[in-house]
Structures are given as structure tokens and as C-alpha cells.
């Protein structure tokens, strides 16, 4: 079923990381990414790994969930690792067979690449696992608010994002229903050539669009009835407030980032 696709992947439990200010969590994630790519030393990876493990522990997210965020990338990872192994020719030859040569440089590059991407995925998915989509858009709006000066419609963008997030499950459910209904009338969805297949999609796409527009119109009317007119002078139900924990977190992040940059300069 379509509904089994996990989109908003928020994992609703209570943990230190869940309670942090979402704005800070976004900043932490950015600092973490800088840290991860700041240098080429092994110590960078070790520091990043320690950082991710710490966050993972604090978030109480089961390791299974993190595995789920890496799994879809596995084929790509394996493929690029193999390419790296075979194509990079720096350092000593480690292994050869007929025309295949594997060099030291290839091995280290592959390992670095895999480790980086895995850490990146696990670390950044912790952000979406521990922050509800609504809080996340609130935080993005807050962080981007300086752009209002140059007339960038920050509030409108954030509102559009929240609405889209809210309606994804609804529309998926609706698609499921429409597919079933047309199948019941004998619609052949999975046979024939390209032309027939595209034509076969019409009975699903037309009702889906019609209902999406109807929902959009209803929502717009409902918003207008409640006197919604954009972000101007609008106060919030959920105020984002930074606490002690957030500042401690920021401190920890900066220390790790500093250490990561230092080890690079010291060429350890």
C-alpha cells in the first residue's frame, strides 16, 4: 500500500534531543556537517562518529530506525565504493588480478566516503526523527526571518511547507482509495504499452487532482473565514524558546567543531 511509505519520519517519543529548541537542532546539524567535511584526517571521522553516537544515545531513537535511513542508499554506496576502488590509482598496489588493480589510495578513499555518508545520513536523520514536521517548519521560518528584510516571503514559504506536509498522508490515502475504485471497474493499470499505460493513469490522476483542488479551495476558504492574512503581526501558539540545554548543546558542538578543525591543522 502507498501509505506504508514513511514520509514525515518523526518518531514521537520523549528524550533530551526531542525537547531541544528546533532552531538549535538545525544549527547543530549544520555545524555537524561542517565538522564532518572539515578535514581529511581519520580523527575527523572519529570525532564525528563520537558526536553522532552521543546524539543517538540522547535521542533514544532505536538503532533500527537509523538503519532504515541508510538502507535505501546502500546500493549507491556499494556502487561508488567499487568504482573508487577500481579507478583511483595512488599509493601502492595492494591486490591485482588480470586488468584489475586496487591501490592503497582507492581503499582509503572508499572507506572515508562510506563512513562520511553513513555518518551524514544517521546524524541528519536524527533531526527529522526528533523534531515534528510542524516544529521544523516553524524553526526554518525563524531562522530565515532575516530574509524578510529583502522582501523574501519567509512566512508564506513556511506556511506552504506545513500545509504540504499536513496533506501528504491525506492525499496518499485518497490515491489508494481511487486506485481501488477504478480497479473495481476493471481498470488495467499494469499492462499494455507506454501509451496505454499513460492513458490508464487518467482515471486515477483526474479524480486525484479534482479532489486536491477541492481540498485546497476548502482550506483557503476556511483560512479566510478565520481572517488569516499572512504573517504580518501574527503571534504564535508555540513560542520557540532557547533553554540552558540548547546553549550547552551549542557549546558541545562548537568544541567538537573546533577539535575537528585543530586536528586537521596539526596533521595528525
Amino acid at each position: 500500500m502507498l501509505k506504508d511509505i514513511t514520509l514525515g519520519q518523526y518518531f514521537p517519543i520523549d528524550s533530551v534531543l526531542h525537547r531541544l529548541d528546533p532552531r538549535f537542532k538545525i544549527i547543530f546539524t549544520m555545524l555537524f556537517i561542517i565538522m564532518l567535511f572539515a578535514g581529511n584526517s581519520v580523527w575527523t571521522l572519529v570525532l564525528s562518529a563520537v558526536f553522532v553516537l552521543m546524539a543517538q544515545f540522547l535521542s533514544k531513537i532505536p538503532l533500527k530506525m537509523s538503519w532504515r535511513s541508510i538502507r535505501p542508499l546502500l546500493p549507491v554506496l556499494v556502487f561508488t565504493a567499487i568504482l573508487n576502488l577500481l579507478l583511483i590509482d595512488s599509493g601502492e598496489v595492494v591486490w591485482e588480478w588480470q586488468f584489475l588493480h586496487i591501490y592503497e589510495g582507492g581503499i582509503t578513499t572508499s572507506i572515508f566516503m562510506i563512513a562520511r555518508i553513513v555518518l551524514l545520513m544517521v546524524g541528519s536523520s536524527l533531526l527529522t526523527y526528533t523534531t515534528s514536521p510542524i516544529l521544523l517548519t516553524d524553526a526554518i521560518e525563524a531562522l530565515l526571518s532575516p530574509l524578510k528584510r529583502i522582501r523574501f516571503p519567509v512566512h508564506e514559504m513556511a506556511m506552504m511547507m506545513s500545509i504540504a506536509l499536513r496533506f501528504i498522508p491525506t492525499l496518499l490515502e485518497e490515491t489508494d482509495k481511487i486506485i481501488s475504485a477504478q480497479k473495481a471497474r476493471g481498470a488495467a493499470l499494469d499492462s499494455g504499452g507506454i501509451r496505454e499505460r499513460v492513458r490508464a493513469l487518467l482515471p486515477i490522476l483526474v479524480p486525484l487532482f479534482v479532489s486536491a483542488f477541492r481540498r485546497a479551495e476548502e482550506l483557503a476558504t476556511a483560512m479566510e473565514c478565520r481572517c488569516y492574512r499572512g504573517g504580518e503581526g501574527r503571534t504564535r501558539l508555540r513560542q520557540l524558546k532557547a533553554g540552558v540545554g540548547d546553549h550547552i548543546g551549542l557549546g558541545v558542538c562548537l568544541v567538537f567543531l573546533g577539535a575537528s578543525i585543530c586536528v586537521n591543522f596539526l596533521k595528525l
Binding site: D4, E174, K177, I178, S180, A181, Q182, K183, A184, R185, G186, A187, A188, L202, P203, V206, P207, V210, S211
Partner: protein, 288 residues
């Protein structure tokens, strides 16, 4: 002979996750031909889920569904054939209209069956007439119809396939009282005319009391019973326990009987009640 049979039919949503629910739980059924069957049950009792097994939209987690004695999942290529013989109209079917004209939309099913142009035309007109859709509406866009007309167009689209079994999931939800009555009469006339089996899922005890011969009662995923309508409405307490009730007129009759009125059992529609009460008054025995 039974047209639809299920054996130990079980369906579990989201199997293997914490949200696992057995929506249909070991249901054994035999539904005969040329029948009007009401399907009742509290919200979430698994009616819609069960119905979607009869035309192979859902595959049983466990158990078997057979149409005319043949397991419908035995040969997956035959599933499409099964869907032509068991028509299913979902709740709020008006949201599945998509063609340019109402005529084309009703013709969608028959066209998929590979019928000839003449036959399609004949069936579309017949289905539209059976549901009281004005012929001049057939040339219009389905999106320019009223809600009730859309509903009729959508149901006509399934009726035009002339299935052996027609399943209607709450066809009257959200219609006005007059439209509701019309719709039920048209469904009954359709059943009489085609001698097919019609399964009518409904939350209205009054409707099923008046229009169906048998009742299929679901209770939390299990089949509570599949019996004659009159027999089901005798189980007053059991129904109440499931969050259902007997038709209002039947409660009234029950109350009168308990007060000592000499009324026959098995009265659950207004016309029956009227006759019985008139008889009672004629006898002059109004002591209760």
C-alpha cells in the same frame, strides 16, 4: 447454490507492526444467489474490509474466498474477470468520476469488459434509467452535476457492468430523505430485475429492515451472524451489546408487547406495524 463463499477469511492491517489490527477475523460465510443482503455492524467492525475481499481488491492474510465455488486467488489472471462479476461501489463513489461526459464515465466499466459499442450504449442507457438519471445529463461533464446526481452516475457505472454480485458500501450516506428512499427503491428494483445478489452496507436499521431479506452482522472483525432479517432483529440484547439497535418501530412494538398488547412478533417495518395496529384496533382490544 452459494455464489460467494469464505472459509476462515482473515485480514490483518499493518501486519508485523505495533499498529497490527485483525480487521476481519476467521469469517466463514455462504451467500446465496438472487438475494438482497444487508451488512451491518458498528463503526470499525470490518464491513468495508470484508467487502473488498469479495472482488479481490484485498488478498486474505489467511483463508479463502470463492466465487461460484472457485477460489478467486487460484489464478491471478482471472482477478479482472472476478471484478466484472462482483461489482463494488465504494463509500462516496462520486469522487472517482473522471471522464469528459457522464455517458463516457458510466461506459468505463463496460468498455473495460470489451463489450461492443451497441451493447455499451444499451447498458449505459439502461443503468442511467434504472437510477433515474435524466438522459440529457449524460452529455454533461460529471463535474457539473449535483452531489446526488454524481452519486447516481458513479453507481450506474458499476451497475452497467451487470455483475452477478453488486456490493454497495453505504450508498445513501449524505443523501436527503427523499433521495435516499428513491435510491433504495431503485437498488431493490435493480436486484429484482437482474436476479443478482446485492450486498447493501448500511448504518440504518430502518433501511435494511425494509429492503433486505438477510442480514450479515459484523462485530469487531468477527461474523456475529448471517441470518434472515427477522431472525436477526429478534436478538435485541445481543445487538445492543454490539452498539447496534433494532429499528425504532420494532422497539415500539416490543414495548407495546411488554405492556401486554396482543401483537405478533417479527414486526420491524412501518407498513407491517401499521397493519398489525389497525387489526388490533379493529378487534377493539386497546387495553395497553
Amino acid at each position: 447454490m452459494a455464489i460467494l463463499t469464505t472459509e476462515g477469511l482473515t485480514y490483518i492491517y499493518s501486519a508485523g507492526t505495533p499498529f497490527e489490527t485483525a480487521a476481519v477475523d476467521h469469517v466463514d460465510l455462504q451467500i446465496g444467489e438472487d438475494l438482497m443482503v444487508g451488512v451491518i455492524g458498528h463503526t470499525g467492525s470490518g464491513k468495508s474490509t470484508l467487502m473488498q475481499h469479495f472482488n479481490g481488491l484485498l488478498q486474505p492474510t489467511e483463508g479463502k474466498v470463492s466465487l461460484e465455488g472457485k477460489d478467486i486467488w487460484a489464478d491471478k489472471k482471472m482477478l479482472r474477470e472476478v471484478r466484472f462479476r462482483v461489482g463494488l461501489v465504494f463509500q462516496y463513489p462520486e469522487y472517482q468520476l473522471f471522464e469528459e461526459t457522464v455517458f463516457q464515465d458510466i461506459a468505463f466499466g463496460p468498455k473495460n469488459m470489451g463489450l461492443s459499442g451497441n451493447e455499451i450504449q444499451r447498458r449505459v442507457l439502461w443503468a442511467a434509467d434504472s437510477l433515474g438519471l435524466d438522459r440529457e445529463l449524460l452529455g454533461r461533464s460529471p463535474f457539473a452535476l449535483s452531489g446526488g446526481q454524481k452519486r447516481r452516475a458513479a453507481i450506474a457505472g458499476v451497475m452497467a457492468m451487470l455483475p452477478k454480485v453488486l456490493i454497495l458500501d453505504e450508498p445513501c450516506a449524505g443523501l436527503d430523505p427523499k433521495g435516499r428512499l428513491q435510491m433504495l427503491r431503485q437498488i431493490r428494483d435493480y436486484q429484482k430485475q437482474t436476479k443478482s445478489t446485492v450486498l447493501l452496507v448500511s448504518h440504518s436499521m430502518e433501511d435494511v429492515a425494509e429492503y433486505t431479506e438477510k442480514l450479515l452482522v459484523m462485530d469487531r472483525g468477527r461474523l456475529f451472524c448471517y441470518e434472515d432479517t427477522a431472525a436477526v432483529f429478534r436478538k435485541v440484547e445481543a445487538l445492543q451489546e454490539m452498539g447496534l439497535r433494532i429499528p425504532q418501530i420494532a422497539s415500539l412494538m416490543l414495548a407495546l408487547r411488554q405492556r401486554g398488547c396482543d401483537l405478533p412478533e417479527d414486526i420491524y417495518t412501518v407498513p407491517q406495524a401499521k397493519d398489525a395496529l389497525v387489526q388490533l384496533l379493529r378487534k377493539g382490544a386497546v387495553s395497553c
